[in-house]
């Protein structure tokens, strides 16, 4: 199955990763080259760009991105190679023999400047009102490489209408420089394939299938294209004006929930390096901006674990004991990009989806019911905002079925980037904020909810609970410090087997009414898998379809974005492999620093089952508020 997936794309479409080989003879050895008269040696096959970067020489790039395959279309990265008649694109030039390279000769500098000038001559540049102002790669190129006038003219009128049809992604093609990063992202990383170059010559532009508005084609709203676009051509659909209006309206009670990934990344927008968690500083900042209450999405992440874990146990019980026909493996459902992906491409597997809502939507439903009651506020006066790393969360909160509280459960999904802007607009420097806690009645949450932000995190959180439920012993006795290392890291697909053995514990009270004992699980081996990036999800799904190893799994975690939520489409730009790693470290470190690290130990979760969802997990009321259903969308558009 692997083979087909990999043969599909031509070599040029697979990311070029040159790892430093341990044994250089295995790949043909090292090559000695000269860069700007300095002798260096690099592994055979390294690109000129890579070689220069390794040796501290900056070469400007535009179409190149560390997550993507080589394109070589913008030519900004040209260098002089001795003996070659023309300048060469350094990002697309693998070194195979000794070369002499010049990266800043008069010819290179002149060509670079001309190329940037030419890009600007077709670019609708109006930086003041552009969301990428100050964070735009084109703008910095112009600044860094000495563009001081528009040699080839300047565009003063937009050429295209802005496509605002999607809840998640806004496309302004007048700002596009045709680098095709979005195209490569959507095809190679996400296997959705929304965008391609349409027409040719000077009419070339990035378009959708049949030039339809984004809302009418198969887009999963993941926003990965936004994160890789070097310019302001792609951006998220920003609700901050509406949120300001709600804050300014004294009749509205505005509450906000913050997800773990934005907290691990928002510091980047304030000049901190990647990997600084700002959770408690953010609580204070949000209050100062004017939000009435700040809640922790991890609380409903904990709830998700209980609901989804119970659902899994029920499915397994039905399949193994009652010999009923139930859909297995169970798939996680908290990534709205993944939800839309499966609705389009594998609608026949929707029964495998956990019916549990995502933490964002669970919280939405609870805020306008449980919390409204407790706080004595009319649900109609509550405006509920969710800070998410994700642009698909905007689509999710607008799904027509998400009105289980009787109102729109979550009013606005706000990305990390958009929130950072609101905080700056309020004149607040986030890192300087004093720390404060989350508001009751939801209060603090566990580290299990926190690690939802990283790929493998939902699974790890679930396993921490399921293992304790079933084996009746501490998860720390099995996995050191409760860290389930095989589920961590950025491998596209992770797989793990957990043997139950023949010692099981008592059934915890919470689910006693659902299963009598655990005897039926004795000797079983729990098989689980994790995938991130929908291209990897596709691999697993095709394997399941073909009856391969993943069809024997019991539980599979899918996240649409590479790296999981921490690499989400609403996160600070840039997002690179290095930055994703740091954000993950921040999340896991925060988890380890907490006392409370298992969802079922969260006293507030225990309390909500005592006070509100009194019939327990997966009961009637919890189904009404915390579970959902899916739509068979299919792969055709009319």
């Amino acid at each position: 199955m692997e083979s087909k997936g990999d043969l599909r794309a031509p070599v040029s479409q697979t990311p070029l990763v040159v790892e430093k080989p341990k044994d250089t003879s295995a790949i043909g050895g090292m090559v000695s080259i000269e860069i700007n008269e300095k002798k260096v040696s690099v592994p055979l096959g390294t690109t000129i760009l890579e070689a220069c970067r390794q040796n501290g020489i900056t070469i400007p790039t535009l179409c190149h991105h560390d997550d993507l395959c080589v394109a070589g279309v913008c030519r900004v990265c040209v260098v002089e190679v001795e003996g070659m008649r023309t300048l060469q694109a350094s990002c697309a030039f693998p070194i195979t023999n000794p070369l002499k390279i010049k990266t800043s000769s008069p010819m290179v500098r002149k060509a670079r400047r001309n190329i940037i000038d030419l890009l600007l001559s077709e670019h609708y540049g109006e930086c003041y009102s552009c969301f990428r102002n100050g964070k735009c790669e084109l703008q910095s190129l112009a600044k860094e490489y000495g563009v001081d006038n528009y040699t080839f003219g300047h565009v003063t009128e937009p050429k295209y209408d802005v496509d605002k049809s999607s809840y998640s992604v806004v496309r302004d093609m007048s700002k596009c420089v045709l680098c095709k990063r979005c195209v490569r992202t959507c095809i190679d990383l996400q296997e959705v394939g929304v965008l391609e170059a349409i027409d040719r010559g000077d009419k070339t532009h990035i378009g959708t299938f049949l030039e339809k508005p984004l809302a009418d084609v198969i887009c999963i709203n993941c926003g990965q294209c936004i994160n890789r676009c070097p310019t302001g051509a792609l951006r998220a659909n920003d609700p901050s004006d509406e949120i300001w209006a709600a804050i300014d309206d004294p009749t509205k009670h505005v509450v906000i929930q913050t997800a773990p990934s934005p907290r691990a990344a928002i510091g980047e927008e304030f000049g901190l390096g990647a990997g600084h968690s700002m959770t408690r500083e953010l609580n204070t900042a949000l209050k100062r901006i004017g939000f009435d209450k700040v809640f922790d999405t991890n609380f409903t992440a904990d709830l998700t674990i209980i609901e989804e874990g119970t659902e899994l146990i029920i499915r397994l019980y039905k399949a193994l004991v009652q010999k009923e026909n139930v859909a297995l493996p169970q798939f996680t459902s908290c990534s709205p990009g993944w939800v839309k992906f499966i609705e389009h491409y594998y609608p026949e597997y929707l029964d495998n989806m956990s019916s549990a809502k995502s933490p964002q939507q669970m919280f939405g439903a609870l805020i306008k019911t449980f919390y409204a009651q407790k706080a004595g506020v009319e649900p109609k006066d509550i405006v509920s905002v969710a800070v998410m790393p994700c642009s698909a969360k905007k689509f999710e909160c607008n799904r027509p079925e998400m009105y289980d509280s009787g109102y729109k459960d979550v009013d606005y999904g706000l990305t990390t980037r958009e929130l950072a802007r609101m905080i700056k607009e309020a004149g607040i420097n986030l890192p300087e904020m004093p720390k404060s806690d989350f508001d009751s009645p939801f209060g603090e949450a566990s580290g299990a909810g926190l690690i939802f932000g990283a790929t493998g995190g939902v699974m790890e959180a679930a396993i921490r609970s399921v293992v304790e439920f079933v084996l009746g012993k501490k998860v720390e006795d099995i996995f050191e410090k409760a860290n389930i290392i095989p589920l961590r890291g950025f491998d596209g697909i992770k797989y793990m087997e957990i043997p139950i053995g023949d010692k099981v514990g008592p059934v915890p009270d919470l689910i006693k009414h659902l299963v009598p004992n655990w005897d039926w699980l004795k000797g079983a081996v729990l098989k689980i898998a994790v995938a991130h990036g929908t291209a990897n999800a596709k691999k697993i799904m095709d394997d399941i379809k073909a009856g391969g190893k993943f069809s024997e799994c019991h539980f599979i975690e899918f996240m649409a974005c590479p790296g999981g939520c921490l690499g989400g489409g609403g996160q600070p730009i840039p997002t690179t492999p290095e930055i994703r790693k740091k954000r993950a470290e921040a999340i896991y470190a925060e988890d380890e620093s907490l006392e409370l690290r298992k969802s079922h130990d969260n006293p507030n979760v225990v309390r909500i089952y005592e006070e509100f969802l009194t019939e327990g997990p997966c009961s009637h009321l919890s189904h009404e508020l915390l579970h959902t259903h899916y739509t068979k969308r299919g792969r055709y558009i009319a």
Binding site: K4, R8, V194, E196, I198, G207, T208, F209, L210, R635
Partner: protein, 157 residues
Amino acid sequence: MLVTEKNNMTEEIEELVRRYGRERSSLLPILQSIQRKHKHIPDFAQQEVARLLDIHPVEVFSVISFYSFLNTKPKGRFIVRLCQTISCDLQGKAAVSKAIERELGITFGETTKDNKFTLEYANCVGMCDQGPAMIINERVYFKLTPEKAVQILNELK
């Protein structure tokens, strides 16, 4: 499209995929066959080709939009493509184009009401030494004069 039409189209494309293979390089010959038979490549056909080659509909659409000889909307039975490139231009293309427009009662880019003729410009078709040149469907006509062009059209009518 009706369901039966869709089923026929799917069968037809499956047959083409069997003939040309499932590689990305099979895309053009498959599209050319559909174009030849249906005079255009319907939306549904694009999605089916994408599904069967395991690529994305927008990639198919991108290829079609790149080539002037592939189109997504039906055109007239005869597609008249007059060369607009410099050699033909110097050899009297302007007069020929006026004559054709007058004869068919449409301008370039349009299709006659009876769906018989579509009029388009093409870039150099390789007959520069014998211009002005035009292509109607798959046949090349050269050394055109206004009268000759009109006569050719009338023979087709």
